[in-house]
Amino acid sequence: MDAIILARAQFAFTVSFHFLFPAFSIGLASYLAVLEALWLKTGKGVYANLFRYWLKIFAVVFAMGVVSGIVMSYQFGTNWSVFSDKAGPVIGPLMAYEVLTAFFLEAGFLGVMLFGINKVGRKLHFVATLAVALGTFISAFWILSVNSWMQTPVGYEIGANGQFLPGPSWLTIIFNPSFPYRLFHTVLAAYLTTAFIVGAVGAWHLLKDRSNPGARKMFSMAMWMAAIVAPIQIFAGDMHGLNTLEHQPVKVMAMEGHFQSHPEGAPLILFGIPNSAEQRVDYVVEIPKASSLILKHQLDAPLKGLDTVPQADRPPVGIVFWAFRVMVGIGFAMLGIGLLSLIARWRKALYDWSLLHRFAVLMGPSGLIAVLAGWIVTEVGRQPFTIYGLLRTTQSASPLDAPAVASSLLAFVIVYFTVFGMGIWYLLHLMKKPPEAHETPLGDAPIRSAGITPAPAIIEGASA
């Protein structure tokens, strides 16, 4: 194992683990803001209880997101120092903006959001919740801009010392060609991820008690999200794919499993096992010309294959091919459950169809899996480059010895599995409890509720 493979494994491991938490917390922060807004507007206790129920979960998720995120801001320098030196003048400022406009906003208002409702009152507390939700979105904005620039680099100049330098317009760099599509697709993915977790928790409790008002409300809200957002997401994903075809055609070749060029219309490969050694897909199940139809909107449109790309410039096909199918498959399963929920709603059986509830429980982690799969498609599909077409991964790494990277990788694996494994167990434990009519505030821990009467401001509204 050489140091570069180990460094890649480490980055992939730490970023994948990290990504799970913001993918959940971006949506959850917005969901909490919606719940609090509905509570302020209607005064209904069910919203206050749901808010408190999910706030406890949010606190744990957010803590894990923060600590795994700090690691990421150092990984660029520890493992990819040459990349950092070269790309720093362009992507560094974008990441600095993320810290200035997002991280501080989230962290600054989090304390008030978690513990402050009795100190600042409902309205100001709602402002804090909104600030945290906005912060999570702004964070996604900047980091996806950075990632998109690495996929579709524009607006740069090359300095005499080999650095990438910003050109005259920062807007060109920030709003690089793949950014709007990636941002839209990823943020929707985060909302769907949260919706399916919320839906699964609601469904789980409905299976035990159909009359639980909190479970009914959260399940219903989640199913609206599935019904409305899943189709939009499939459309957004298609747009993102077309954008990728325009700017990173090689990635699409790997996603489609097109080893060969198809001058008279390319087939859509549904399943098969990519065989990179033989340059073909084994056991293939395909629809003739359908790929050309989807990508070019024409049955006979020619599509180039990986045979037009030098061997050294090809991404690993198998991983990209499979990850893409996992993501798309989950997307359609989400669409399916959304449609089922509409039928159930129409028949006034949303809270009674236990088969639908079981399906929803099963789909609980689907968003997380889809998000990771999508991330793998876009990141592995960018290989063998860190900055697409311009800087190779092999030329980006830090001058480190393999043993140093190997031991730190081992340490990360052990610590992450222990710490986040227990954290996820706590999350499941919190989710296992049904939402109650008098949901305790976050400070249900001994000291926080000792002495002082807890949360009079909330209690009066919480009588669902």
Partner: protein
């Protein structure tokens, strides 16, 4: 001489100061945690920082993010050079960060998460101290990259700075708890603050003298005439601040000892500045050599000029919301 690069060096210097001021005390509480009584005292100590620790730690990201953006070459040299301490610090921060939530979620394993809180805080602090020492003693640089081995950071001097920072942060933690708590816990922390103050003063003296021997640049900065007239004010001020610190402790002030302890840290940072200015990798790379182009620095300066005052404002508001003694005011 005041150009964008100097301004950015000052902003990053400010982020480091802000980090030490804000995260120093909450790491310090982690270091002192095992000495507090299980139950009420530990819960109070934890609660005194629960609403603010996340914001405090963001300054660390600001420091390193600012370094990446404004001085990418320095970021690319320093982080591989400090590989092991940096990874250790990050893993330490993981443990202590999650402990804030996990210890409430899992009473059966609270002892485990309390130990994780302390271990994480000690490792993170020790690693930061080691990083400082390793940078000061000079790292091997060739061309645009780090060229030393992966154990170069380890030396008696860097271990010394590591221990120094442990004592320093513990002092800040003790002073913070003196401010925010009452009764037995407060009396306990006052005693600790008194002892830690002596420890820190000794460490400052030893590390300062040892620093002078590391590079001729440092020696000349501090001791050549007539500069010595100015630089001698730093140790003098340190003695005066120490005196004021002990006087405020003796007359049982709640708030002042914390700020005098912070002033001691401030003087150490001034001393550090005297030694290394204008280098970003001490005695190796100057801020101008490592600087990002004007376009990058200018773009970020616009953002920093607008955002930093706002950040300071709402951070101050957040502290204000949770003001007062933890025991009596109680946001639990």
């Amino acid at each position: 001489m005041i150009d964008l690069t100097v301004i950015w060096a000052c902003i990053i210097g400010f982020a480091i100061i802000a980090y030490v001021v804000m995260d120093g005390f909450d790491l310090g509480i982690g270091i002192l945690f095992p000495f507090f009584k299980v139950g009420q005292d530990r819960d109070t100590a934890m609660n005194s920082i629960a609403p603010v620790w996340d914001g405090n730690e963001t300054w660390l990201v600001m420091g390193v993010g600012g370094l990446f953006a404004a001085f990418p070459l320095a970021y690319a040299i320093i982080l591989p050079a400090l590989y092991a301490p940096m990874i250790a610090m990050l893993l330490g921060l993981v443990f202590r960060g999650v402990a804030f939530e996990f210890r409430w979620r899992d009473p059966a394993h609270r002892a485990f998460w309390d130990t994780a809180f302390t271990t994480g805080s000690v490792i993170a602090t020790f690693a930061q101290g080691i990083a400082l020492g390793a940078l000061l003693q000079g790292i091997t640089v060739e061309g645009r990259s780090y060229a030393g081995g992966w154990w170069e950071w380890l030396s008696p001097f860097s271990l010394l700075t590591g221990v120094g920072l442990l004592i320093g942060y513990a002092l800040l933690g003790a002073c913070w708890l003196n401010w925010k708590t009452e009764g037995g816990l407060q009396r306990q922390t006052v005693t600790y603050a008194g002892r830690l103050g002596i420890g820190l003063l000794i460490m400052i003296g030893v590390i300062s003298l040892a620093t002078l021997r590391l590079e001729t640049q440092y020696y000349q900065r501090w001791l050549s005439f007539p500069g010595v007239v100015a630089t001698a004010q730093v140790p003098l001020a340190t003695l005066i601040v120490t005196f004021l610190f002990y006087r405020s402790l003796r007359v049982k002030r709640d708030v002042q000892p914390f700020f005098w302890a912070l002033s001691l840290f401030g003087l150490c940072l001034v001393g550090l500045g005297v030694s290394i200015w204008p280098d970003v990798v001490p005695a190796r790379v100057t801020i101008w050599e490592a600087a990002a182009p004007v376009r990058s620095q200018l773009f970020m300066l616009v953002g920093a000029a607008i955002m930093v005052p706002m950040i300071l404002a709402y951070t101050a508001w957040s502290y204000w919301v949770f003001r007062g003694k933890v025991g009596t005011e109680g946001y639990h």
